[in-house]
Amino acid sequence: MKEPPDDKETGLPGLRSWGRVYWVVLGIMAAWIVLLTALTRLYS
Protein backbone atom coordinates (compact mmCIF):
# COMPACT_ATOMS: atom_id res chain seq x y z
CA MET A 1 0.00 0.00 0.00
CA LYS A 2 1.63 3.26 -1.12
CA GLU A 3 1.44 6.09 1.39
CA PRO A 4 0.04 9.27 -0.15
CA PRO A 5 2.56 12.14 -0.05
CA ASP A 6 0.23 14.34 2.01
CA ASP A 7 0.42 12.18 5.15
CA LYS A 8 2.38 14.92 6.96
CA GLU A 9 -0.37 17.42 6.20
CA THR A 10 -3.31 17.27 8.57
CA GLY A 11 -5.70 18.95 6.18
CA LEU A 12 -7.24 20.83 9.09
CA PRO A 13 -7.57 24.61 8.84
CA GLY A 14 -5.24 26.36 11.29
CA LEU A 15 -3.69 23.08 12.44
CA ARG A 16 -0.98 22.32 9.92
CA SER A 17 1.16 19.98 12.00
CA TRP A 18 0.17 16.85 13.88
CA GLY A 19 1.81 18.26 17.00
CA ARG A 20 -0.69 21.11 17.01
CA VAL A 21 -3.58 18.70 16.52
CA TYR A 22 -2.43 16.69 19.53
CA TRP A 23 -2.12 19.81 21.70
CA VAL A 24 -5.63 20.91 20.76
CA VAL A 25 -6.99 17.46 21.64
CA LEU A 26 -5.18 17.60 24.99
CA GLY A 27 -6.63 21.06 25.57
CA ILE A 28 -10.16 19.78 24.91
CA MET A 29 -9.57 16.90 27.33
CA ALA A 30 -8.29 19.29 30.02
CA ALA A 31 -11.29 21.57 29.46
CA TRP A 32 -13.66 18.63 30.01
CA ILE A 33 -11.92 17.64 33.24
CA VAL A 34 -12.05 21.23 34.53
CA LEU A 35 -15.72 21.48 33.55
CA LEU A 36 -16.61 18.21 35.28
CA THR A 37 -14.63 19.21 38.38
CA ALA A 38 -16.55 22.49 38.50
CA LEU A 39 -19.83 20.60 38.10
CA THR A 40 -18.87 18.34 40.99
CA ARG A 41 -17.92 21.27 43.24
CA LEU A 42 -21.05 23.21 42.31
CA TYR A 43 -23.63 20.51 42.90
CA SER A 44 -22.19 18.23 45.58
Binding site: P4, V21, L39, Y43
Partner: protein, 571 residues
Protein backbone atom coordinates in the same frame (compact mmCIF):
# COMPACT_ATOMS: atom_id res chain seq x y z
CA UNK B 1 -43.82 -2.99 21.51
CA UNK B 2 -46.34 -2.79 18.69
CA UNK B 3 -46.04 -3.43 14.94
CA UNK B 4 -44.44 -0.02 14.28
CA UNK B 5 -41.65 -0.81 16.74
CA UNK B 6 -41.14 -4.26 15.22
CA UNK B 7 -41.08 -2.79 11.73
CA UNK B 8 -38.37 -0.29 12.73
CA UNK B 9 -36.36 -2.98 14.52
CA UNK B 10 -36.45 -5.66 11.84
CA UNK B 11 -36.35 -3.26 8.89
CA UNK B 12 -33.35 -1.30 10.18
CA UNK B 13 -31.23 -4.25 11.23
CA UNK B 14 -31.89 -6.42 8.18
CA UNK B 15 -31.73 -3.43 5.82
CA UNK B 16 -28.31 -2.31 7.06
CA UNK B 17 -26.95 -5.87 6.99
CA UNK B 18 -28.30 -6.54 3.48
CA UNK B 19 -26.90 -3.26 2.16
CA UNK B 20 -23.46 -4.07 3.57
CA UNK B 21 -23.45 -7.56 2.04
CA UNK B 22 -24.57 -6.18 -1.33
CA UNK B 23 -22.02 -3.34 -1.28
CA UNK B 24 -19.07 -5.58 -0.51
CA UNK B 25 -19.92 -8.46 -2.84
CA UNK B 26 -17.16 -9.86 -5.05
CA UNK B 27 -14.18 -9.11 -2.80
CA UNK B 28 -12.15 -12.28 -2.87
CA UNK B 29 -8.54 -11.28 -2.15
CA UNK B 30 -7.21 -11.47 1.39
CA UNK B 31 -6.12 -7.85 1.60
CA UNK B 32 -9.52 -6.37 0.78
CA UNK B 33 -11.31 -8.97 2.91
CA UNK B 34 -9.18 -8.28 6.01
CA UNK B 35 -8.15 -4.63 5.50
CA UNK B 36 -10.88 -3.29 3.25
CA UNK B 37 -10.63 -1.54 -0.09
CA UNK B 38 -8.04 0.94 1.21
CA UNK B 39 -10.29 3.91 0.49
CA UNK B 40 -11.83 4.41 3.92
CA UNK B 41 -12.03 8.03 5.07
CA UNK B 42 -11.46 9.42 8.57
CA UNK B 43 -15.12 9.83 9.52
CA UNK B 44 -15.92 6.21 8.70
CA UNK B 45 -12.82 5.10 10.64
CA UNK B 46 -13.73 7.33 13.60
CA UNK B 47 -17.31 6.08 13.74
CA UNK B 48 -16.14 2.52 13.23
CA UNK B 49 -13.66 2.77 16.13
CA UNK B 50 -16.40 4.31 18.27
CA UNK B 51 -18.98 1.70 17.27
CA UNK B 52 -16.61 -1.19 17.99
CA UNK B 53 -15.98 0.06 21.51
CA UNK B 54 -19.50 1.25 22.30
CA UNK B 55 -21.41 -1.98 22.50
CA UNK B 56 -25.00 -2.50 23.58
CA UNK B 57 -23.59 -2.77 27.09
CA UNK B 58 -22.48 0.87 26.85
CA UNK B 59 -25.94 2.12 26.00
CA UNK B 60 -27.88 -0.32 28.15
CA UNK B 61 -25.80 -0.49 31.29
CA UNK B 62 -24.12 2.93 31.51
CA UNK B 63 -27.36 4.90 32.10
CA UNK B 64 -28.01 2.38 34.89
CA UNK B 65 -24.62 3.25 36.36
CA UNK B 66 -25.50 6.92 36.15
CA UNK B 67 -28.80 6.19 37.88
CA UNK B 68 -27.19 4.22 40.71
CA UNK B 69 -23.77 5.84 41.18
CA UNK B 70 -23.85 9.13 39.31
CA UNK B 71 -21.29 10.56 36.91
CA UNK B 72 -18.13 9.10 38.50
CA UNK B 73 -17.70 6.41 35.84
CA UNK B 74 -16.79 9.11 33.30
CA UNK B 75 -13.34 9.28 34.95
CA UNK B 76 -12.66 5.87 33.46
CA UNK B 77 -12.23 7.60 30.10
CA UNK B 78 -9.94 10.46 31.16
CA UNK B 79 -6.86 8.59 29.96
CA UNK B 80 -8.33 7.76 26.55
CA UNK B 81 -7.39 10.99 24.68
CA UNK B 82 -3.73 10.71 25.73
CA UNK B 83 -3.69 7.03 24.77
CA UNK B 84 -5.16 7.78 21.35
CA UNK B 85 -2.56 10.49 20.74
CA UNK B 86 0.27 8.05 21.62
CA UNK B 87 -1.23 5.46 19.28
CA UNK B 88 -1.63 7.96 16.43
CA UNK B 89 1.92 9.28 16.87
CA UNK B 90 3.83 6.05 17.64
CA UNK B 91 1.91 2.81 17.04
CA UNK B 92 0.06 3.64 13.85
CA UNK B 93 3.01 4.74 11.66
CA UNK B 94 4.87 1.51 12.52
CA UNK B 95 1.85 -0.71 11.78
CA UNK B 96 1.32 1.00 8.44
CA UNK B 97 5.02 0.95 7.48
CA UNK B 98 5.23 -2.79 8.11
CA UNK B 99 1.91 -3.31 6.25
CA UNK B 100 0.74 -5.78 8.88
CA UNK B 101 -2.70 -7.37 8.87
CA UNK B 102 -2.75 -7.77 12.65
CA UNK B 103 -1.06 -6.06 15.57
CA UNK B 104 0.50 -9.39 16.61
CA UNK B 105 2.22 -9.73 13.25
CA UNK B 106 4.28 -6.76 14.38
CA UNK B 107 5.40 -8.71 17.49
CA UNK B 108 6.67 -11.42 15.13
CA UNK B 109 8.65 -8.80 13.17
CA UNK B 110 10.08 -7.25 16.30
CA UNK B 111 10.68 -10.33 18.46
CA UNK B 112 10.05 -13.89 17.33
CA UNK B 113 7.24 -16.30 16.35
CA UNK B 114 6.53 -17.46 19.91
CA UNK B 115 6.00 -13.89 21.18
CA UNK B 116 3.69 -13.22 18.24
CA UNK B 117 1.72 -16.34 19.17
CA UNK B 118 1.59 -15.25 22.82
CA UNK B 119 0.15 -11.85 21.89
CA UNK B 120 -2.35 -13.40 19.49
CA UNK B 121 -3.25 -16.10 22.03
CA UNK B 122 -3.93 -13.63 24.84
CA UNK B 123 -6.08 -11.62 22.48
CA UNK B 124 -8.04 -14.66 21.31
CA UNK B 125 -8.73 -15.85 24.86
CA UNK B 126 -9.69 -12.43 26.22
CA UNK B 127 -11.67 -11.23 23.23
CA UNK B 128 -13.28 -14.62 22.65
CA UNK B 129 -14.70 -14.53 26.18
CA UNK B 130 -15.60 -10.83 25.91
CA UNK B 131 -17.47 -11.51 22.69
CA UNK B 132 -19.83 -13.76 24.61
CA UNK B 133 -20.64 -10.96 27.04
CA UNK B 134 -21.20 -8.54 24.16
CA UNK B 135 -23.86 -10.79 22.69
CA UNK B 136 -25.44 -11.55 26.07
CA UNK B 137 -26.40 -7.94 26.88
CA UNK B 138 -28.92 -7.17 24.13
CA UNK B 139 -30.33 -10.65 24.50
CA UNK B 140 -31.26 -9.79 28.10
CA UNK B 141 -32.98 -6.64 26.87
CA UNK B 142 -35.08 -8.34 24.26
CA UNK B 143 -35.91 -11.39 26.31
CA UNK B 144 -37.10 -9.09 29.10
CA UNK B 145 -38.88 -6.67 26.78
CA UNK B 146 -40.80 -9.11 24.67
CA UNK B 147 -40.90 -12.22 26.77
CA UNK B 148 -38.76 -14.05 24.24
CA UNK B 149 -36.65 -16.94 25.35
CA UNK B 150 -33.14 -15.76 26.20
CA UNK B 151 -31.46 -18.58 24.24
CA UNK B 152 -33.51 -17.89 21.08
CA UNK B 153 -32.67 -14.18 21.30
CA UNK B 154 -28.95 -14.91 21.68
CA UNK B 155 -28.92 -17.32 18.74
CA UNK B 156 -30.93 -15.05 16.36
CA UNK B 157 -28.92 -11.88 17.04
CA UNK B 158 -25.68 -13.86 16.98
CA UNK B 159 -26.40 -15.50 13.64
CA UNK B 160 -27.30 -12.18 11.94
CA UNK B 161 -23.96 -10.60 12.81
CA UNK B 162 -22.07 -13.77 11.89
CA UNK B 163 -23.79 -13.77 8.49
CA UNK B 164 -22.82 -10.29 7.32
CA UNK B 165 -19.37 -10.35 8.95
CA UNK B 166 -18.49 -13.63 7.26
CA UNK B 167 -19.86 -12.60 3.86
CA UNK B 168 -18.65 -8.99 3.73
CA UNK B 169 -15.41 -8.93 5.74
CA UNK B 170 -13.75 -5.73 6.96
CA UNK B 171 -15.57 -3.29 4.66
CA UNK B 172 -18.98 -4.73 5.55
CA UNK B 173 -18.13 -4.24 9.23
CA UNK B 174 -17.09 -0.59 8.73
CA UNK B 175 -20.08 0.16 6.52
CA UNK B 176 -22.66 -1.33 8.88
CA UNK B 177 -21.01 0.39 11.84
CA UNK B 178 -21.39 3.79 10.19
CA UNK B 179 -25.15 3.39 9.78
CA UNK B 180 -25.61 1.57 13.06
CA UNK B 181 -23.96 4.35 15.05
CA UNK B 182 -26.30 6.81 13.30
CA UNK B 183 -29.28 4.82 14.59
CA UNK B 184 -27.71 4.70 18.06
CA UNK B 185 -27.11 8.45 18.29
CA UNK B 186 -30.61 9.18 16.99
CA UNK B 187 -32.12 6.86 19.58
CA UNK B 188 -30.13 8.20 22.53
CA UNK B 189 -30.85 11.80 21.56
CA UNK B 190 -34.56 11.05 21.23
CA UNK B 191 -34.58 9.43 24.69
CA UNK B 192 -32.79 12.45 26.16
CA UNK B 193 -35.27 14.92 24.65
CA UNK B 194 -38.30 12.91 25.81
CA UNK B 195 -36.80 12.61 29.27
CA UNK B 196 -36.28 16.36 29.56
CA UNK B 197 -39.85 16.96 28.37
CA UNK B 198 -41.23 14.55 30.95
CA UNK B 199 -39.52 16.05 33.99
CA UNK B 200 -42.08 17.66 36.33
CA UNK B 201 -43.31 21.15 35.47
CA UNK B 202 -41.28 23.77 37.30
CA UNK B 203 -38.22 21.54 37.63
CA UNK B 204 -35.48 23.22 35.59
CA UNK B 205 -32.30 21.56 34.37
CA UNK B 206 -30.29 23.23 37.15
CA UNK B 207 -32.91 22.11 39.71
CA UNK B 208 -32.41 18.58 38.40
CA UNK B 209 -28.65 18.83 38.85
CA UNK B 210 -29.08 20.27 42.35
CA UNK B 211 -31.48 17.45 43.26
CA UNK B 212 -29.17 14.79 41.83
CA UNK B 213 -26.23 16.43 43.60
CA UNK B 214 -28.08 16.11 46.90
CA UNK B 215 -28.06 12.34 46.36
CA UNK B 216 -24.35 12.27 45.32
CA UNK B 217 -25.15 11.67 41.66
CA UNK B 218 -23.13 14.63 40.30
CA UNK B 219 -19.76 13.58 41.74
CA UNK B 220 -18.04 13.42 38.38
CA UNK B 221 -14.47 13.90 39.60
CA UNK B 222 -13.03 12.34 42.74
CA UNK B 223 -9.52 13.37 43.82
CA UNK B 224 -9.37 10.76 46.61
CA UNK B 225 -6.13 8.78 46.90
CA UNK B 226 -7.90 5.81 48.50
CA UNK B 227 -6.91 2.79 46.34
CA UNK B 228 -10.14 0.97 47.27
CA UNK B 229 -12.21 3.49 45.32
CA UNK B 230 -13.01 2.12 41.91
CA UNK B 231 -13.29 5.41 40.01
CA UNK B 232 -11.08 8.39 40.85
CA UNK B 233 -9.28 10.86 38.64
CA UNK B 234 -6.07 8.91 39.31
CA UNK B 235 -7.46 5.51 38.30
CA UNK B 236 -8.93 7.18 35.23
CA UNK B 237 -5.84 9.13 34.19
CA UNK B 238 -3.38 6.30 34.85
CA UNK B 239 -5.35 3.03 34.79
CA UNK B 240 -7.66 4.40 32.11
CA UNK B 241 -4.65 5.51 30.05
CA UNK B 242 -3.17 2.01 30.14
CA UNK B 243 -6.54 0.37 29.47
CA UNK B 244 -7.19 2.64 26.47
CA UNK B 245 -3.61 2.31 25.21
CA UNK B 246 -3.91 -1.45 25.31
CA UNK B 247 -7.43 -1.62 23.92
CA UNK B 248 -7.09 0.90 21.08
CA UNK B 249 -3.42 0.19 20.37
CA UNK B 250 -3.07 -3.58 20.63
CA UNK B 251 -6.54 -5.13 20.46
CA UNK B 252 -7.01 -6.33 16.91
CA UNK B 253 -10.73 -5.47 16.96
CA UNK B 254 -9.66 -1.81 17.09
CA UNK B 255 -6.38 -1.99 15.17
CA UNK B 256 -8.20 -3.54 12.20
CA UNK B 257 -10.60 -0.59 12.12
CA UNK B 258 -7.95 2.08 11.63
CA UNK B 259 -5.56 0.00 9.51
CA UNK B 260 -8.18 0.08 6.76
CA UNK B 261 -7.74 3.86 6.37
CA UNK B 262 -6.93 5.24 2.91
CA UNK B 263 -3.79 6.87 4.34
CA UNK B 264 -1.95 7.51 7.60
CA UNK B 265 -3.70 10.89 7.72
CA UNK B 266 -7.19 9.37 7.49
CA UNK B 267 -6.38 6.80 10.20
CA UNK B 268 -4.92 9.47 12.50
CA UNK B 269 -7.90 11.77 12.08
CA UNK B 270 -10.22 8.85 12.81
CA UNK B 271 -8.40 8.28 16.10
CA UNK B 272 -8.44 12.01 16.96
CA UNK B 273 -12.18 12.05 16.33
CA UNK B 274 -12.50 9.51 19.16
CA UNK B 275 -10.02 11.37 21.36
CA UNK B 276 -12.24 14.45 21.17
CA UNK B 277 -15.64 12.79 21.52
CA UNK B 278 -15.02 9.88 23.90
CA UNK B 279 -15.35 11.81 27.19
CA UNK B 280 -18.41 13.88 26.14
CA UNK B 281 -20.15 10.80 24.78
CA UNK B 282 -19.72 8.87 28.03
CA UNK B 283 -20.71 11.96 30.03
CA UNK B 284 -23.87 12.34 27.99
CA UNK B 285 -24.87 8.69 28.52
CA UNK B 286 -24.21 8.91 32.27
CA UNK B 287 -26.08 12.21 32.48
CA UNK B 288 -29.03 10.46 30.87
CA UNK B 289 -28.96 7.99 33.76
CA UNK B 290 -28.70 10.79 36.32
CA UNK B 291 -31.73 12.52 34.80
CA UNK B 292 -33.65 9.23 34.84
CA UNK B 293 -32.82 9.11 38.56
CA UNK B 294 -34.32 12.60 38.96
CA UNK B 295 -37.35 11.62 36.89
CA UNK B 296 -38.01 8.60 39.10
CA UNK B 297 -37.94 10.72 42.24
CA UNK B 298 -41.24 12.22 41.06
CA UNK B 299 -42.63 9.26 39.12
CA UNK B 300 -42.83 6.03 41.08
CA UNK B 301 -40.51 3.38 39.64
CA UNK B 302 -40.97 -0.36 40.10
CA UNK B 303 -39.45 -1.61 43.36
CA UNK B 304 -37.23 -3.83 41.22
CA UNK B 305 -36.48 -2.88 37.60
CA UNK B 306 -36.08 -6.47 36.47
CA UNK B 307 -39.85 -6.93 36.39
CA UNK B 308 -39.84 -10.43 34.97
CA UNK B 309 -37.77 -11.69 37.93
CA UNK B 310 -40.08 -9.91 40.39
CA UNK B 311 -43.29 -11.10 38.69
CA UNK B 312 -42.09 -14.69 38.58
CA UNK B 313 -41.14 -14.83 42.26
CA UNK B 314 -44.26 -12.91 43.29
CA UNK B 315 -46.30 -15.67 41.67
CA UNK B 316 -44.10 -18.53 42.92
CA UNK B 317 -43.35 -18.69 46.62
CA UNK B 318 -41.96 -15.32 47.76
CA UNK B 319 -45.07 -13.30 46.87
CA UNK B 320 -46.05 -12.25 50.41
CA UNK B 321 -42.62 -10.91 51.34
CA UNK B 322 -42.17 -9.18 47.98
CA UNK B 323 -45.55 -7.46 48.15
CA UNK B 324 -44.83 -6.27 51.71
CA UNK B 325 -41.53 -4.80 50.52
CA UNK B 326 -43.29 -3.18 47.58
CA UNK B 327 -45.80 -1.56 49.95
CA UNK B 328 -42.90 -0.22 52.09
CA UNK B 329 -41.22 1.04 48.96
CA UNK B 330 -44.34 2.80 47.66
CA UNK B 331 -44.99 4.46 51.02
CA UNK B 332 -41.39 5.69 51.35
CA UNK B 333 -41.35 6.89 47.74
CA UNK B 334 -44.58 8.88 48.25
CA UNK B 335 -43.03 10.54 51.33
CA UNK B 336 -39.84 11.32 49.41
CA UNK B 337 -41.81 12.80 46.52
CA UNK B 338 -43.73 15.08 48.90
CA UNK B 339 -40.47 16.18 50.57
CA UNK B 340 -38.85 16.87 47.22
CA UNK B 341 -41.78 19.01 46.10
CA UNK B 342 -41.39 20.98 49.35
CA UNK B 343 -37.67 21.27 48.64
CA UNK B 344 -38.38 22.57 45.12
CA UNK B 345 -40.85 25.18 46.40
CA UNK B 346 -38.41 26.32 49.11
CA UNK B 347 -35.58 26.50 46.56
CA UNK B 348 -37.63 28.63 44.18
CA UNK B 349 -38.77 30.83 47.08
CA UNK B 350 -35.18 31.28 48.22
CA UNK B 351 -35.98 29.89 51.68
CA UNK B 352 -32.66 28.24 52.59
CA UNK B 353 -33.80 26.89 55.97
CA UNK B 354 -36.92 25.21 54.53
CA UNK B 355 -34.86 23.93 51.60
CA UNK B 356 -32.34 22.30 53.93
CA UNK B 357 -35.05 20.75 56.10
CA UNK B 358 -36.94 19.34 53.10
CA UNK B 359 -33.75 17.95 51.61
CA UNK B 360 -32.90 16.21 54.90
CA UNK B 361 -36.38 14.67 55.07
CA UNK B 362 -36.15 13.55 51.42
CA UNK B 363 -32.77 11.95 52.06
CA UNK B 364 -34.19 9.99 55.00
CA UNK B 365 -37.15 8.82 52.90
CA UNK B 366 -34.76 7.92 50.07
CA UNK B 367 -32.80 5.67 52.42
CA UNK B 368 -36.01 3.75 53.12
CA UNK B 369 -36.68 3.51 49.39
CA UNK B 370 -33.20 2.12 48.73
CA UNK B 371 -33.43 -0.26 51.69
CA UNK B 372 -36.70 -1.73 50.35
CA UNK B 373 -35.18 -2.07 46.89
CA UNK B 374 -32.01 -3.73 48.23
CA UNK B 375 -34.02 -6.14 50.37
CA UNK B 376 -36.16 -7.03 47.35
CA UNK B 377 -33.00 -7.88 45.43
CA UNK B 378 -31.83 -10.10 48.29
CA UNK B 379 -35.16 -11.94 48.42
CA UNK B 380 -35.12 -12.49 44.65
CA UNK B 381 -31.56 -13.76 44.62
CA UNK B 382 -32.20 -16.02 47.60
CA UNK B 383 -35.16 -17.51 45.75
CA UNK B 384 -33.24 -17.81 42.48
CA UNK B 385 -29.45 -17.31 42.51
CA UNK B 386 -29.48 -16.86 38.71
CA UNK B 387 -31.34 -13.57 39.10
CA UNK B 388 -28.98 -10.87 37.79
CA UNK B 389 -27.26 -9.28 40.77
CA UNK B 390 -27.27 -5.80 39.33
CA UNK B 391 -30.74 -4.40 38.80
CA UNK B 392 -29.31 -1.19 37.32
CA UNK B 393 -28.94 -2.84 33.91
CA UNK B 394 -32.74 -2.78 33.66
CA UNK B 395 -33.23 0.89 34.55
CA UNK B 396 -32.94 2.41 31.09
CA UNK B 397 -34.97 -0.20 29.26
CA UNK B 398 -37.71 0.10 31.89
CA UNK B 399 -37.83 3.86 31.35
CA UNK B 400 -37.98 3.38 27.58
CA UNK B 401 -40.82 0.87 27.69
CA UNK B 402 -42.88 2.71 30.27
CA UNK B 403 -42.44 6.31 29.13
CA UNK B 404 -41.49 6.54 25.45
CA UNK B 405 -44.06 6.56 22.64
CA UNK B 406 -44.30 3.72 20.12
CA UNK B 407 -41.90 4.23 17.29
CA UNK B 408 -39.29 5.62 19.65
CA UNK B 409 -39.42 2.36 21.61
CA UNK B 410 -38.62 0.56 18.37
CA UNK B 411 -35.85 3.05 17.61
CA UNK B 412 -34.23 2.57 21.04
CA UNK B 413 -34.44 -1.23 20.93
CA UNK B 414 -32.98 -1.03 17.42
CA UNK B 415 -30.21 1.19 18.81
CA UNK B 416 -29.34 -1.43 21.44
CA UNK B 417 -29.21 -4.11 18.81
CA UNK B 418 -27.28 -1.92 16.38
CA UNK B 419 -24.71 -1.29 19.11
CA UNK B 420 -24.49 -4.99 19.91
CA UNK B 421 -24.09 -6.00 16.29
CA UNK B 422 -21.54 -3.28 15.50
CA UNK B 423 -19.18 -4.17 18.32
CA UNK B 424 -19.76 -7.87 17.81
CA UNK B 425 -18.92 -7.57 14.11
CA UNK B 426 -15.66 -5.76 14.89
CA UNK B 427 -14.71 -8.47 17.37
CA UNK B 428 -15.57 -11.38 15.09
CA UNK B 429 -13.76 -9.76 12.18
CA UNK B 430 -10.65 -9.40 14.38
CA UNK B 431 -10.90 -12.89 15.85
CA UNK B 432 -11.20 -14.41 12.37
CA UNK B 433 -8.30 -12.31 11.02
CA UNK B 434 -5.99 -13.11 13.93
CA UNK B 435 -6.73 -16.82 13.76
CA UNK B 436 -6.10 -16.84 10.01
CA UNK B 437 -3.02 -14.61 9.85
CA UNK B 438 -1.26 -15.34 13.15
CA UNK B 439 -2.16 -18.99 13.64
CA UNK B 440 -3.32 -20.68 10.42
CA UNK B 441 -1.13 -18.94 7.82
CA UNK B 442 1.77 -18.68 10.22
CA UNK B 443 1.82 -22.26 11.54
CA UNK B 444 -0.60 -24.59 9.76
CA UNK B 445 -0.49 -23.67 6.05
CA UNK B 446 2.21 -21.23 5.00
CA UNK B 447 1.80 -21.33 1.22
CA UNK B 448 -1.70 -21.15 -0.22
CA UNK B 449 -3.74 -18.97 -2.52
CA UNK B 450 -5.55 -15.82 -1.47
CA UNK B 451 -8.86 -17.53 -2.10
CA UNK B 452 -7.86 -20.29 0.31
CA UNK B 453 -7.01 -17.82 3.09
CA UNK B 454 -10.20 -15.83 2.49
CA UNK B 455 -12.20 -19.05 2.79
CA UNK B 456 -10.26 -19.98 5.95
CA UNK B 457 -10.90 -16.52 7.40
CA UNK B 458 -14.62 -16.90 6.74
CA UNK B 459 -14.67 -20.28 8.46
CA UNK B 460 -12.74 -18.99 11.47
CA UNK B 461 -15.01 -15.94 11.75
CA UNK B 462 -18.06 -18.21 11.73
CA UNK B 463 -16.43 -20.52 14.28
CA UNK B 464 -15.71 -17.63 16.68
CA UNK B 465 -19.27 -16.44 16.22
CA UNK B 466 -20.52 -19.84 17.32
CA UNK B 467 -18.12 -19.83 20.30
CA UNK B 468 -19.44 -16.41 21.37
CA UNK B 469 -23.03 -17.60 21.02
CA UNK B 470 -22.27 -20.70 23.09
CA UNK B 471 -20.52 -18.63 25.78
CA UNK B 472 -23.47 -16.22 25.92
CA UNK B 473 -25.89 -19.11 26.28
CA UNK B 474 -24.09 -20.34 29.37
CA UNK B 475 -23.13 -16.96 30.87
CA UNK B 476 -24.28 -16.25 34.41
CA UNK B 477 -23.06 -12.72 35.00
CA UNK B 478 -22.91 -11.43 38.53
CA UNK B 479 -21.47 -7.97 37.89
CA UNK B 480 -22.82 -4.96 36.14
CA UNK B 481 -22.30 -5.86 32.49
CA UNK B 482 -19.99 -3.06 31.45
CA UNK B 483 -17.82 -3.62 34.50
CA UNK B 484 -17.64 -7.32 33.70
CA UNK B 485 -16.24 -6.51 30.26
CA UNK B 486 -13.76 -3.97 31.63
CA UNK B 487 -12.61 -6.28 34.43
CA UNK B 488 -12.00 -9.09 31.95
CA UNK B 489 -10.10 -6.71 29.69
CA UNK B 490 -8.01 -5.28 32.50
CA UNK B 491 -6.80 -8.72 33.59
CA UNK B 492 -5.25 -9.39 30.18
CA UNK B 493 -4.66 -5.98 28.61
CA UNK B 494 -1.82 -4.87 30.90
CA UNK B 495 0.47 -7.71 29.88
CA UNK B 496 -0.38 -7.41 26.18
CA UNK B 497 0.36 -3.69 26.36
CA UNK B 498 3.63 -4.49 28.15
CA UNK B 499 4.63 -6.67 25.18
CA UNK B 500 3.99 -3.83 22.76
CA UNK B 501 5.63 -1.12 24.86
CA UNK B 502 8.76 -3.26 25.18
CA UNK B 503 8.64 -3.75 21.41
CA UNK B 504 8.27 -0.04 20.68
CA UNK B 505 10.48 1.56 23.30
CA UNK B 506 12.98 -0.98 24.74
CA UNK B 507 14.88 -1.98 21.67
CA UNK B 508 17.60 -3.95 23.46
CA UNK B 509 15.14 -6.51 24.79
CA UNK B 510 14.75 -9.71 22.80
CA UNK B 511 11.95 -12.21 22.27
CA UNK B 512 13.00 -14.82 24.82
CA UNK B 513 13.16 -12.35 27.70
CA UNK B 514 9.84 -10.71 26.92
CA UNK B 515 8.03 -14.01 26.25
CA UNK B 516 8.79 -15.66 29.59
CA UNK B 517 8.38 -12.46 31.55
CA UNK B 518 5.02 -11.78 29.94
CA UNK B 519 3.85 -15.19 31.15
CA UNK B 520 5.19 -14.41 34.65
CA UNK B 521 3.47 -11.01 34.63
CA UNK B 522 0.16 -12.59 33.61
CA UNK B 523 0.48 -15.11 36.46
CA UNK B 524 1.17 -12.21 38.85
CA UNK B 525 -1.97 -10.38 37.66
CA UNK B 526 -4.10 -13.50 38.17
CA UNK B 527 -2.69 -13.92 41.70
CA UNK B 528 -3.17 -10.27 42.65
CA UNK B 529 -6.70 -10.17 41.22
CA UNK B 530 -7.75 -13.02 43.48
CA UNK B 531 -6.02 -11.50 46.54
CA UNK B 532 -6.28 -7.68 46.40
CA UNK B 533 -9.46 -5.58 46.65
CA UNK B 534 -8.09 -2.74 44.49
CA UNK B 535 -9.80 -1.10 41.49
CA UNK B 536 -9.55 -3.37 38.45
CA UNK B 537 -8.13 -0.49 36.38
CA UNK B 538 -4.87 -0.80 38.32
CA UNK B 539 -4.29 -4.25 36.82
CA UNK B 540 -3.67 -2.56 33.46
CA UNK B 541 -0.80 -0.67 35.06
CA UNK B 542 0.46 -3.61 37.14
CA UNK B 543 0.43 -6.10 34.25
CA UNK B 544 2.17 -3.68 31.90
CA UNK B 545 4.77 -2.54 34.46
CA UNK B 546 5.48 -6.12 35.57
CA UNK B 547 5.95 -7.31 31.99
CA UNK B 548 8.35 -4.46 31.20
CA UNK B 549 10.29 -4.64 34.49
CA UNK B 550 10.64 -8.45 34.41
CA UNK B 551 11.81 -8.31 30.78
CA UNK B 552 14.48 -5.72 31.56
CA UNK B 553 15.75 -7.78 34.51
CA UNK B 554 15.80 -11.09 32.59
CA UNK B 555 17.44 -9.48 29.56
CA UNK B 556 20.20 -8.19 31.83
CA UNK B 557 20.72 -11.76 33.10
CA UNK B 558 20.61 -13.66 29.79
CA UNK B 559 22.38 -11.03 27.68
CA UNK B 560 21.52 -9.84 24.19
CA UNK B 561 20.47 -13.26 22.80
CA UNK B 562 16.93 -13.86 21.62
CA UNK B 563 16.60 -10.59 19.81
CA UNK B 564 14.08 -10.71 17.01
CA UNK B 565 15.35 -10.81 13.43
CA UNK B 566 13.59 -7.64 12.36
CA UNK B 567 14.12 -5.47 15.40
CA UNK B 568 15.73 -2.87 13.23
CA UNK B 569 12.73 -2.74 10.92
CA UNK B 570 10.48 -1.95 13.83
CA UNK B 571 12.70 0.75 15.25
Amino acid sequence: MNWIDYLILVGSLLGIAAYAIWSTRGRHDLRSYLKGSGETKWLTIGLSVMATQASAITFLSTPGQGYESGLGFVQNYFGAPVALIIIAAVFLPIYRRLKVYTAYEYLGHRFDPKTRLLGAGLFLVQRGLGAGITIYAPAIVLSTVMGWRLDVTIVCSGLLVVLYTVLGGCDAVSLTQKYQIGVIFAGMLAAFIVLLARLPAGLTFTDSLALAGGFHRVNAVDFSLNPDRRYTIWTGMLGGLFLALSYFGTDQSQVQRYLCGASLRESRLGLMFNAVFKIPMQFFILLLGVLIFVFYQFERPPVYFNRSAWDYQAAHGSGGRLRALEADFNEAHAAERTDLRSWLEARHAGNAAAESAARGAAAAAHERVEAARAETGKVLRAANPRTTANDDDYVFITFILDHLPHGLIGLLVTAFFAAALSSKAGELNALGSTTTVDIYRHIVKREASDAHYVAASKWFTALWGLVAIAFALFANLAENLIQAVNILGSIFYGVVLGLFLVAFFLRRIGGTAVFWRALAAQALVFALYSALPISYLWYNVIGCAACMAFSIILQAVIGPGGKGPAAAAAA
